[in-house]
Symmetry: C2
Subunit: 198 residues, 2 copies
């Protein structure tokens, strides 16, 4: 069974987090969420706190971010959702930067959506095709081949734009981990409107 680690922090965009988590589970992926604290606040508590997301939904993470248990030897996919404040916390966190590099080097998948794509820059990934939320485009378009597509696959880095592209992002990750047939199987019962372009 493929496995995925999705990061979450205060300020994470709850639709991007939840759509990705839920769609991966529907695809048959074993999903774990890991809380990324502000660097300043440390990780002294044993259980992670509820993440207060960008529009007020409070989500209980499955675990704390922990280099020993979050590496590419444990999961097939690392996901960094957006939400301005959550993405800032994640992209500036040294452990997240280290994880992004390790997953890419180990040929495991890394998914970034919305402002989460800033982690590609802070992790110093090489210039390659990438997208993000339009609000952070000017922080990324010099260092990457910026494209404006719902889901951009560049080898094992998958990037996307915002809550409105979270479904094509998540379905693309299911396709890469579980195959095209599985993607089609789980898409039907989600009942997208006719002519939905993904």
């Amino acid at each position: 069974m493929p496995s995925a680690l999705i990061l979450i922090a205060d300020g994470t965009e709850e639709m991007e987090f939840t759509i990705t988590y839920d769609t991966l589970v529907r695809g048959g992926v074993s999903v774990t969420s890991a809380f990324v604290p502000d660097v300043a606040s440390g990780t002294a508590a044993v259980s992670p706190p509820a993440a207060k997301c960008s529009r007020g939904v409070r989500i209980l993470p499955d675990s704390y971010l922990d280099l020993a248990h979050c590496g590419p030897d444990k999961f097939d996919l690392l996901v960094i959702p957006g939400g301005a404040k959550g993405a800032e916390t994640m992209s500036n966190h040294p452990s997240v930067q280290e994880l992004v590099k390790k997953y890419i080097e180990s040929n495991k998948l890394v998914g970034m959506i919305c402002a989460g794509s800033l982690a590609a820059k802070t992790s110093k990934l090489p210039k390659q095709p990438l997208t993000s939320h339009p609000s952070v485009k000017d922080q990324l378009d010099k260092d990457f081949e910026y494209v404006e597509e719902p889901a951009v696959v560049s080898k094992n880095l998958v990037t996307s734009r915002g809550p409105g592209t979270a479904f094509p992002f998540a379905l693309t990750l299911v396709q890469l981990l579980c195959g095209e047939e599985r993607r089609a199987e789980i898409r039907a019962p989600m009942v997208f409107p006719a002519n939905t372009p993904f």
Copy 2:
């Protein structure tokens, strides 16, 4: 500021809950979530527990369902999300049935999505246009004028189909509560793919 109450229970579909909550907040609606316990388990605890949603995301509700504080004198909109087990708990709960009738009688909005539409039947709403998840169509198509559209507005009852229609459902609710202009304003930064039909 318009206000909305969204119900949540163990087994609620977390994408339907989160997309509706987040999109309403983006629209400028004051949103509160209320936990609906299994009738059997009672409501003895002071703070509601985390709802264990249909694909494993755990969400902390803002409050308990409580007739005195959840009525149409307090909120402009009542939302009943899907997820088979959560919708069963809600639609069979006498307080939820009473609230649905009171909101409709008070000319406040009621939104139901996916299996949440079963609450229209258990609340004995009169025959009118309605939609739901295809999996519960045969429980509803004798008592209602069943239609297969992403969002069906029948006076103050708004129904929808599944996670794939949660965005048009939530945007329709924003439009009804806050106007067409506000709907367009919040839609743009969500970055839907080109040619998305809502």
